[in-house]
C-alpha cells in the first residue's frame, strides 16, 4: 500500500468518497425506482401464494369462505400497489438536463443533484423492504384466517384485524418514502 502505487491520474478515484460521488445520481435514483417496484412485488407475490394456497384447500370442505377470504389477497395486492405508486412518483421526478452537454456546467446545483439521487434511492428502499415484510406478514395471517374461517365463521373478522395491522407496515413505508422523496428534484439547468 505504498503511495507510489496510488494512481494519481485525474481519471482515478482518490478515495472512497470519490467512488461514491462518481456514481451518477441518476443511477441511484433509477435503482431506487427498481427496488421500490421489484421488492414490493416480491412481498406481494409471496403473500398471495401463502394465503391463496391455504384458501384453495380450505374452500374444498367449506365453500362459503371463498369470496370473503379474497380480502386477504387484496391486502397483499395493496402492498404491490404501494410499490407502483412510489415507482411512478419517483420516475416522474427523474429529469434530464435541458441542454445536451458532455460536461455539466460549473455552477450546476451539485448539492441538489446528489440529494435527489440519494433521496430517491433510499425512498425506494424504504418502500420496497417494508413491503416485503408486510406482504409476508399478511400472507401468513391470511392463510391462518382462511383455515380458521372454514371452522368457525365468527373468527374471520377478528383475524382480519391482525391482517390490517400487518398491512399497515406497508403504509408506513410509503408515507416515509413520499416524505423522503418530496424534496428531491433533479436540476435541469445551471443555477443563475
Amino acid at each position: 500500500m505504498s503511495s507510489s502505487n496510488t494512481c494519481t491520474s485525474e481519471f482515478c478515484n482518490a478515495g472512497w468518497s470519490e467512488v461514491l460521488t462518481h456514481m451518477s445520481p441518476y443511477g441511484f435514483a433509477n435503482f431506487g425506482v427498481a427496488f421500490a417496484l421489484g421488492l414490493s412485488v416480491v412481498g406481494a407475490a409471496w403473500g398471495i401464494w401463502l394465503t391463496g394456497s391455504s384458501l384453495v384447500g380450505a374452500s374444498v370442505k367449506a365453500p362459503r369462505i371463498r369470496s370473503k377470504n379474497l380480502i386477504s389477497v387484496i391486502f397483499c395486492e395493496a402492498t404491490a400497489i404501494y410499490g407502483v405508486i412510489m415507482a411512478i412518483i419517483l420516475t416522474n421526478k427523474v429529469k434530464a438536463p435541458d441542454e445536451n452537454t458532455y460536461y455539466l456546467d460549473e455552477d450546476w446545483d451539485w448539492s441538489g443533484y446528489y440529494y435527489a439521487g440519494y433521496g430517491m434511492f433510499s425512498a425506494g428502499l424504504s418502500v420496497g423492504l417494508t413491503n416485503i415484510a408486510s406482504g409476508i406478514s399478511v400472507g401468513i395471517a391470511g392463510s391462518s384466517c382462511a383455515l380458521a374461517d372454514a371452522q368457525d365463521a365468527s373468527l374471520f373478522v377478528k383475524i382480519l384485524i391482525v391482517e390490517i395491522f400487518a398491512s399497515a407496515l406497508g403504509i408506513f413505508g410509503i408515507i416515509v418514502g413520499i416524505i423522503q422523496s418530496n424534496a428531491c428534484t433533479f436540476p435541469i439547468a445551471a443555477l443563475n
Binding site: L50, S54, G57, A58, V60, K61, I140, S143, L147, Q151
Partner: protein
C-alpha cells in the same frame, strides 16, 4: 415451551440404521411451508370439521335400535357412505367408516409431494405390518385366504399376489427368512423384517423354545418397534415444528407399547426370568420418555406391583397406572391410554404449518370409528348403561377439560 425442534426426549442421538431414506427437503417454516403443503394441510383441517359433535353423540346414545342410529348418522358426514347400505350392523358400520377414512387419506396422499408423501406413507406402514401379521397368524389357524384378505386394513394393502403368498410360508425361522427373501423384500415393511431377522439370528433364534402364538406376537411387536424408531428418525430429520410435535406423539406411542408389552407378558412364557432380558427387553422401542432408564427397569419387572412401582417414577404414566390399579372396572388402562391419545392428538391441531395434523387426523378418526362401533354394539346388545364409555373428540365436555375447571 421447548426451543425449536430440539427437545429433551430425543436429545440422545438416534443412531440405529434408518430404513426410510432421509427427507429430500424440509417442510419449511412459517414463510415457506405453504409452497408445497398448504393444500393438503387445508384439506385435512377441513376434514376436521367432519368429526361427530357432542350433540351427535348425544342423539346416538339415545337411540333404541340400529335403524335409529342410521337415521341419526344420515345427518352427519357419514350420510353418503351409509346411503346404499340396507341394514346397519356394527361390523358393516365399521367397514363403511374405515373405507371413508381410506378415501380421505388417499385424497390427501395424492395431493402430497415430498417430504409429506413419505410422511403419509410412514403412517400406512403400521397398517401394512398389521396386515402381514394377520395373514401369518391366519395361516397358523388355517383360515381361508379370502376371509383374511377381507379382514385386512385397507390402508395397508400390498399387491394381491404378494398378500396371497404370505400364508404359504411356514412359521419357522427358516420360513421367515424365505418369506423375507422372496416376498417382503420389495415391500415397504421389508427393512423392518430384515432388522427383525438380523436381531433374532444374533440372539440364536433357532434355540428358543417358544410357542407359536407367542412367536407371532414377538414378531409383531418387533416390527412395530422398528417402525416407531424409523418414523421418529425421519421426523427428527424433518426438524422444526414437525419434529417437536411428532416426536412427542411417537414418544408416548413407544411408551404405550412398552407398558402394554410388559403388562400382556404377565402369565405368558415371555415373563419368565430367562426370557425377560433376552426377549422382552428387545421389544421395547429405543425412543420415548421411558427410554433408556425406564425400559431397563421394565425389563426386570415380574408382576403388576413392580410395574406400578416403576411407573410411579414417571408422573405422566403414574396417573394412568393408578386408574388401572384402582381396578374398579369403570375404566381400564386401554381407556386411559385412548383418552390421553385423543388429548394429545387434539393439541396437534393447534399448530399450523406442520405435519403432525395428518397423523393426528388418522388417529382421531380411528378413535371415532371405535366410538361408533362401541355405541352400536351397546345398542345391539341392549347394554345402555355402558354406552357412555366412548371418548369424545374435539369436545368441550371431554374428561380432561372437566377436571381443570375445579
Amino acid at each position: 415451551r421447548r426451543h425449536g425442534g430440539k427437545s429433551a426426549c430425543w436429545r440422545r442421538e438416534v443412531t440405529f440404521s434408518t430404513m426410510t431414506p432421509p427427507p429430500s427437503s424440509e417442510p419449511g417454516g412459517l414463510a415457506t411451508f405453504n409452497i408445497h403443503h398448504a393444500f393438503p394441510e387445508a384439506l385435512v383441517r377441513g376434514m376436521r370439521s367432519s368429526f361427530l359433535k357432542d350433540s351427535d353423540y348425544h342423539h346416538l346414545s339415545q337411540c333404541e335400535t340400529l335403524d335409529d342410529v342410521r337415521l341419526n348418522l344420515s345427518e352427519t358426514d357419514y350420510a353418503e357412505p351409509l346411503a346404499d347400505m340396507p341394514t346397519l350392523m356394527p361390523s358393516s358400520l365399521q367397514k363403511v367408516a374405515v373405507d371413508k377414512l381410506v378415501v380421505e387419506f388417499q385424497y390427501l396422499r395424492s395431493q402430497a409431494v415430498e417430504p409429506l408423501a413419505t410422511f403419509l406413507d410412514l403412517i400406512t406402514y403400521e397398517y401394512m405390518i398389521e396386515n402381514v401379521m394377520l395373514l401369518l397368524k391366519g395361516s397358523l389357524s388355517g383360515r381361508d385366504i379370502n376371509d383374511l384378505m377381507a379382514q385386512c386394513h385397507p390402508l395397508g394393502m400390498f399387491k394381491d399376489s404378494v398378500m396371497r403368498s404370505i400364508p404359504t410360508f411356514e412359521s419357522t425361522p427358516r420360513g421367515y427368512a424365505d418369506l423375507y427373501q422372496t416376498v417382503l423384500v420389495d415391500t415397504p415393511v421389508g427393512p423392518y423384517f430384515a432388522q427383525f431377522l438380523q436381531e433374532s439370528s444374533m440372539n440364536g433364534g433357532s434355540s428358543r423354545n417358544v410357542l407359536e402364538e407367542v412367536e407371532i406376537e414377538i414378531i409383531k411387536s418387533s416390527l412395530i418397534k422398528f417402525w416407531i424408531e424409523d418414523f421418529t428418525a425421519y421426523v427428527h430429520k424433518l426438524g422444526g415444528e414437525t419434529a417437536a410435535l411428532m416426536g412427542e406423539l411417537l414418544a408416548v406411542r413407544a411408551d404405550t407399547n412398552a407398558i402394554n408389552i410388559t403388562l400382556n407378558s404377565f402369565g405368558t412364557p415371555l415373563n419368565e426370568p430367562a426370557m425377560r432380558v433376552s426377549d422382552r427387553k428387545r421389544l421395547y422401542p429405543a425412543v420415548g420418555f421411558l427410554y433408556p432408564a425406564g425400559t431397563s427397569m421394565l425389563a426386570d419387572v415380574a408382576d403388576e406391583d413392580e410395574l406400578g412401582r416403576v411407573l410411579d417414577l414417571f408422573p405422566q404414566y403414574g396417573a394412568i397406572w393408578n386408574i388401572h390399579a384402582a381396578g374398579t372396572g369403570e375404566k381400564g388402562i386401554d381407556d386411559a391410554f385412548y383418552e390421553r391419545d385423543v388429548q394429545m392428538n387434539e393439541l396437534a391441531f393447534e399448530g399450523q404449518m406442520q405435519f403432525a395434523v395428518f397423523y393426528a387426523y388418522v388417529k382421531l378418526k380411528e378413535q371415532e370409528i371405535r366410538n361408533l362401533v362401541w355405541i352400536s354394539e351397546c345398542i345391539l346388545q341392549a347394554q345402555k348403561d355402558e354406552i357412555n364409555k366412548f371418548v369424545p373428540i374435539f369436545s368441550q365436555h371431554a374428561p380432561w377439560r372437566q377436571t381443570k375447571r375445579r
